[in-house]
Amino acid sequence: MEPAQTTVTGTAGTGRRSTRRRWDATDLSLVAVFAALIAALAILPGIPVGPLGVPITLQTLGVLLAGLVLGPARGTAAVLLYLVAGLIGLPVFSGFSGGFGVLAGPTAGYLLAFPLAALVAGLLTVGVLRRTRRFRVVLLFLAALTASLLTIHPLGIAGLMLNAGLPLRDAILVDVVYLPGDVVKDVLAAVLAVSVHRAFPRLLAAKPPLRA
């Protein structure tokens, strides 16, 4: 899964944006460390909320951060790497301990939506960072919110319907419980991403065409 992403970036390098290139060692380790960050945020504190007790953790914060900080390609790759590690059975998912079993669990839709969320958040972030220097926190918050509303919530609801056998209305009710927490996490992700881009300006900004 993840190397396929590498290919995408590799071929994208020949495309319109001349600044794109094959990943170097730093890109690779950013992807890996962000996958680890999502895992660390997912494992550490887990507060079960809502009628189904799907744990509210900082897991989604990590997913959105991957998109907001690393951009679409590396961000999605980081989330995919995290999912692969969890699906082969490493205990990196919150609540359930990992393995293919989560695919049948009620939270499967949320997990499978994560790479898409990072992709959407990353695409929007690149657009924001290229265009403006002002209102970045607000714009990145909107990027994160859009990503989670477009991907995590619809797919999460679908997963609840399919795997937990909930009718649509009940699935939406279960999902809505997490919305306020998600908005808080979106704000946090935006604030954090702006700090990161301030501290590491070359992370996502268009790199100088000639690196030498």
Binding site: E2, L28, V33, V84, L90, G99, G101, G105
Partner: protein
């Protein structure tokens, strides 16, 4: 990777035929469980999946029934509420079908991680990537990324604990921004250090012919 894998994994040494079953067979079986339970939602499917998963753990890994039950502990609250909901809102047979199916899949997945060394799991997934080499996938870099990820989790978890203690000392532990900002900045800095260390050893770069001018990465 070899040293750390053991601490994160869920492998427990033991005896039984599951320990001798090839990883591919166990992986396919565990995946098949999830597919079957979702695709054919019926009492019969659930019953068969449950029997196979529990039977596999009892006989194949020689666990006691109490151990099997204890494996379900982390997921118990969710499963319990879901069963209650299905039973009250729909009917109890449906509750058994849904919750039993999820339980069977969790146990099947756990049977795999219990009886396979973490290192073998990692080798297995890298082997799985190899056929995609023709499409441009790079199993070596994938393996490298996976091992860096596993190595980073304890570092980041430790950083998180440190940062939280520091925030508590200042009475700011309820401010998530104060708690998480140093963690994320620390993670990015750590990734850059790791990237430089890799580059210095000639690891993790692309194909030599695609490599960029020989300027080292990083600032």
């Amino acid at each position: 990777m070899r040293g750390f894998g053991a601490t994160l994994g869920l492998y427990e040494p033991g005896r039984g035929f599951l320990y001798r079953t090839p990883l591919a067979v166990k992986a396919v079986a565990s995946l098949a469980c999830a597919v079957a339970v979702i695709a054919w939602r019926s009492p019969a499917t659930t019953a068969v999946a449950l029997l196979l998963a529990v039977g596999g753990l009892l006989v194949g890994a020689r666990l006691s029934p109490a151990r099997v039950l204890r494996m379900l502990l982390p997921a118990a609250p969710v499963l319990g509420i879901l069963a209650l909901y299905q039973g009250v809102a729909q009917d109890w047979l449906r509750a058994f079908v849904v919750v039993g199916g999820i339980t069977a899949c969790l146990l099947a997945a756990r049977a795999l991680t219990l009886t396979t060394r973490t290192q073998d799991l990692l080798d297995g997934v890298v082997r799985l990537v190899r056929p995609f080499r023709r499409l441009g996938a790079d199993p070596e870099r994938f393996a490298l990324a996976l091992s860096i990820m596993l190595r980073s989790i304890p570092y980041l978890a430790g950083l998180f604990v440190d940062v939280r203690q520091a925030a508590r000392a200042r009475g700011l532990e309820r401010n998530p921004r104060v708690v998480v900002t140093p963690l994320v900045l620390g993670a990015v800095a750590y990734a850059h250090r790791t990237g430089e260390a890799l580059a210095a050893r000639g690891l993790g770069e692309g194909e030599p012919d695609e490599a960029l001018p020989d300027e080292p990465t990083g600032p």
